[in-house]
Amino acid sequence: MTDAIVSMLVVTLVAGTPLLYAALGELVTERSGVLNLGVEGTMLTGGIAGFIVTFITGNVWLGVGAAMLAGAAMSLLFAIITISLKANQVAAGLALTIFGTGLSSFAGKEYVGRSVVLEPSSLTTALGQVPVVGVLLGKLHPLVWLSWILLAAVCYFVYRTRSGLILRSIGESPSSAYAIGFPVISIRYLATLFGGAMAGIGGAYVSVIYAALWTEGLTAGRGWIAVALVVFATWRPERVLLGAYLFGGVTSMQLFAQGAGFPVPPELMSATPYLATILVLVLISRDAALIRLNVPVSLGKPFHADA
């Protein structure tokens, strides 16, 4: 019985981790007022970069580093187009997704169907010795609980530091922030790069650890879910955690439910994670004040310094 529960918990955490990374990155980006819809393409690019480097070097952390760089490079492209050249953010984000998907398929052509076999990390085996929680921690890659540390760091940064306050003020009213003298453009660039790097890690997690092999379109829409999760969480990091594990959990749980013989048609079970997300979004949106209080006011609008 505990074996089954541990198994279910592991599956939930593993399924939710890429969503958590990508959504946290997107949250920081959106808090600065930039709407980056290119998360899916960035995740795939990070995924293939991480996969190729891990495949060649055998070192997961080098792969994760490469994925961060690839993700940041993709979002740098987006940042130049939308922040400096002031193009429409929605269109540029969609274009980035399509570009990233194609680029990852092209780069990954040699690697389709190949898999990466990893030694369990020494950190994981050490943690497995810890009493009680060790049973769970021993089955998880360090990237899973690193995402919790990241969550805590983002929470602290956004709400407890001066830089976080500046970030939020730029998201609310960039012209006022600019008038005070804050470097709006630079901070938006940094926020976008951070979002891209996190999406890259999320993609690398899927390709190197979760699935441990590469196929085209491996992330299967998780990037889009991450964008939705940021809204679901009303732009608050702690709720992103809830959303990521809810979605990841339901996705994996429906497979366990099928295995246990639940008398529900499998197609319906497949749809449950999306239904759950929509349900929560509807419940949140009923309170218009809640949304108004939390959405960054300048989200999606290009900033003109001279306006």
Partner: protein, 365 residues
Amino acid sequence: MELSRRRFLGGVAAGSVLAASSGLPRLAAADEVLKVGIIHQGAISDTGWEYYQAAARLALEAAYPGRVETTVIENILQNQDAERLFRQLASQGHKLLFGTTFSHYASLKKLAPTVKSAHFECCAGITASDNLGIFEARHYEGTYVTGIAAGRMTKSNILGWVGAFPVPQVTYSVNAFMLGARSVNPDAVVKIVWTNAWVDSAKEKDAVAALVAQGADVISGSPNTPVQGLAAEEKGVWAIGSTGDFSNYVKKAQLTSFVLDWSPAYLEAAKAVMEGTWEPKTRWRGLGESGFVKMATHSPELPESVLKEMQAAEQAIAAGKLHPFSGPINDQNGTQRVAAGSTIPDDDLRGMNWLVEGVQGQLGG
């Protein structure tokens, strides 16, 4: 000047169209090169559905060196694009065109009668029609034989199946798997988990975890990538390479496997076009000489006695003496579907929408 040049060029174009459209698309001279076009929905990798299509094409090229020229187009996800490309290839002198997936079948059924300059063959189609031949594998013959291995090697008597979509081809495969297992182990059951995707590595891995949590110790399915086998290896259970051999990746856990060999279809069709004798045929074959299903590898841990049972079944099926779906067969609800002493007709297989007794799972709404 311009008018006469235009008229001249127009005349040349009209003349060549007339010349090309006259007569059947057979080779004008014995030493003319046959141009064959093949369109793939996905990317060709080193395992999975597209790999075996490509392997058949390579066999064709090897059989007729210098006499066959192939044009391969990969990654055509949308049917509209595939349809357009088939037309384009036909207009560029390709006399034999292959569709490689069920999704091409509907488009080719419409397209083939209107494009007479080429002959069409579609893999995984249903029945041949005007100018369109189809070839499909009797997957169930392969899954029946692997079911024997699974039935013998399982200790928990629970087998797992990772299902993609509840379409007849998958349904008859899992039913045959159950029947094969029950032919040697009447207590075996099969649990199914549907992923609703032909390829979704993360979901497939979770599906294997879900099945193992239920006690399954042999996992089968319709894998296109090694992920199911690798996940099974991680959990310490057996995996079966159904329609694909992944022993390069799954070093220890692959119990046995069978592969799809489409080369007889490719070779027969090309030979017929070269000789001018092509006609639309429905090739639905399984095990045996010039069949499309070939048993592949088996683990060194598979006992001799089990291997002999599998080989005996394989030979009996190939010789037509054993049909995996010979009665009496009951479905999950206990209704008899195949009477004792009879075998299931082909049409019932093509439309199979029920699960055999012993399979635990739903087919969906």
